[in-house]
Symmetry: C2
Subunit: 245 residues, 2 copies
Amino acid sequence: MTRIKLLLEYDGRNYHGFQLQKNANTVQAELEKAIYRLSGEQATLVCAGRTDAGVHAWGQVVAFDSCSTIPGDRWAYALNSQLPEDIQVLESQETRAEFNPRFDALKKCYGYLIYRQKKKATFYRHYALCSTEPLKLEAMQEAAGILKGRQNFRSFCASGSSARTFEREIFRCCLSEKGPYLLLRIEADGFLYNMVRIITGTLLEVGRGKYPPQHLREIIASQDRTRAGPTAPPQGLYLLQVFYP
Amino acid sequence: MTRIKLLLEYDGRNYHGFQLQKNANTVQAELEKAIYRLSGEQATLVCAGRTDAGVHAWGQVVAFDSCSTIPGDRWAYALNSQLPEDIQVLESQETRAEFNPRFDALKKCYGYLIYRQKKKATFYRHYALCSTEPLKLEAMQEAAGILKGRQNFRSFCASGSSARTFEREIFRCCLSEKGPYLLLRIEADGFLYNMVRIITGTLLEVGRGKYPPQHLREIIASQDRTRAGPTAPPQGLYLLQVFYP
């Protein structure tokens, strides 16, 4: 038995998220089907971050066990021959038997993309939040800075989450503007359910001038989801990278 | 009766091209349906460039006649409320009764996008030709330069074309590289059927070293389609802009 680690990217547009679901097409289902076709094995995948319906990945990490003779580094090529075009394995390798993509991660980085121009927005409707509303970027940047550090992020956790603790450490939270693109990058040791999308929705409220950046401190302190902004839509969210020791 | 001119963009991914077809979804069909829903009129659209299945537009221009009371500049807003998300009207205006988007055009500009990186290629599979093969860009640039001027482009015209003359003037034909993107831009007073895609396929053969740039002169002189390179796939092609007096 060998444990195989995969680095993959996928366009989440046509999937009901990563995780297996009955009667819905998911990234995990496609991967497990492809593994079955190659090896005849009913593998069970573990992933670093369970992305929701419509959410994309540039650097998802998954692992599974196999008794097949396919060498670790050939899995990428073999799987790509079986996978739909919108899921692609970038790298594959043999890893240690205990490797868990989720619990072994030191930190993960998510990106949220906003496209701020009317022109060509048609092409971004599944790949960004398209909005031409005026935004106070400096205020948003200041608010983003307030989110850094080890804090209780319960206000940024969707109800229905099974999380037991709400403390997470955000190492990096910053906005960058490049032409019509506005990208929010958040690196943390862990993320609560919908955390990046709720943070984005909250920073957008700051950008609209609904409340000042410093109000983020009150939102955090309240530990109350209803105090934060709305959940930004899934199509702007990307799992960018997962970091391991 | 008023003649309305529209500037529009569309993601050609899900359409069998611009022009009406039986039993196939086209951009023209969607526009005519939307006009009908707004005004009850069976308009007949004329466009600047009939794009093929899978080809995109950032700046298609179309015109139609209407007796409706909708002001020229409101058609954009009205149509967008009825159109699918992958077709959007950027501007609308009243124009003179004789305006013909195709025959009045001084020149048109097409772009062909090549994405040259393995990473994130998943996201470009419907929006570029994705290829990581090594290419001699200087040779391609030189070959592109040879295509400029008024010449007979019969070697770059797909069979089945109804064109009577094959002389066209290319004002601009150049490659630009930016990170993983390679963009070919061609401005001409007119284009033959599949001309940009055959030029792209031919420049790629030069990039691969199959023949030197100067061989383009022989290909042009032969007036023989079989001497030019293969037709590049549709998903990399964009109608960028149409120029009027």
